[in-house]
Subunit: 211 residues, 2 copies
């Protein structure tokens, strides 16, 4: 199982590391992190550097392609070379996966046209501009090869659901125990519907200010 993660400047770390921590535990998994140029790629806040071991254009095929989100997606959504590469590799994958605004790149590449899809809640409606049908689901299997997660932490849930599809429920449960994913968030929140209005207004203001 050849798994490729696409990195880019200003990606969101947990978007990639959530599914990485799950999918890398598939038996026989081989995981590669690639970017337009190999080297250290910085996250959205600049605090963290993650190594891209490989060059994106050297990847011509893989079994699973994972595209994370982050502030940097806006540049990639408008980059023809990226979109062409996405289309080319997607034609070879068993699964093409996105987390958070990574789906905006897939959408810009035309992969989500006519399909249900999700993204970070703050950009959900924009998916319709690419012909996709926005859904509130935490993740969605769109067609038989696309697996699309909502914002940031949703990639962990999707990763486990994908393992179940690929290798069965027992292995998914085993990996869930391995990463001790019995979530107990301190608040019943994490979605727009569950967030008090003043907090939602605060977060919207921060996002509008570029935070």
């Amino acid at each position: 199982m050849d798994i490729v993660f696409l990195l880019f400047d200003r990606f969101t770390a947990l978007d990639a590391i959530g599914p990485y921590e799950v999918l890398s535990r598939l038996p026989g998994a081989k995981v590669r992190f690639v970017a337009a140029e190999p080297g250290v790629i910085r996250t959205d806040n600049g605090f963290l550097g993650v190594q891209a071991d490989g060059r994106r254009d050297d990847v011509e095929r893989c079994d699973i392609l994972v595209v994370p989100g982050g502030k940097g997606t806006r540049a990639l959504e408008a980059d023809p070379a990226t979109l062409e590469w996405i289309r080319k590799v997607h034609a070879t994958t068993k699964w093409t996966v996105s987390v958070c605004t990574g789906s905006m790149i897939l959408a810009a590449a035309g992969l989500l046209e006519g399909k249900e899809a999700t993204t970070h809640w703050s950009r959900l409606e924009e998916l319709a501009e690419h012909g996709a049908t926005p859904t509130q689901a935490r993740y969605v299997f769109a067609g038989d090869r696309l697996a699309i997660a909502a914002g940031v932490s949703a990639g962990i849930d999707l990763g486990l659901a994908l393992v179940a599809r690929i290798a069965g429920e027992d292995l998914a449960r085993g990996i869930q125990l391995g990463v001790e994913y019995d979530p107990q968030p301190p608040f019943d929140g994490g979605s727009v519907d569950k967030t008090p209005a003043p907090v939602l207004a605060m977060v919207r203001a921060a996002l509008a200010a570029g935070a």
Copy 2:
């Protein structure tokens, strides 16, 4: 808020990236990743390299110290220089945090003696060898400056609980929405008690084999 993450060869990525994704969103946060020597540090499976921008011994103080776990902790638990650095920096922190088997390093440094603590479920009983009291909790605030999470993904829950203590519930809820942490794991599992016996046996066998 000066936040330092200790990296080391064969750490588990999500142990660090879970709390990083949450704590880095604290207003005024400055996050540094450090290791014994600066450079790219590989994770437990070797698939991922994360950049340590700083040298561990150049850090003499910080507000929050985060110690992740992973296979590499066993070497650090027996390394006097690491344990001395942990003790020295802990004396300066507002919060010293561990995720997963990172607590075994804190325990080896003597920080958990007489305190409730947790770690990855597979090593929980070992904490008693260092004078700590193992607890089944997903995370525990041990004393007024120690925050200890269970395995891997538990660092996300702990990160949010810590933000609530540091900056209040509204900000914690806001960050929880920012990372869209409304978990919906595909199975009610992720802990020993919730895992079917055959799956638990499979995972224990894999761990015993060094997986």
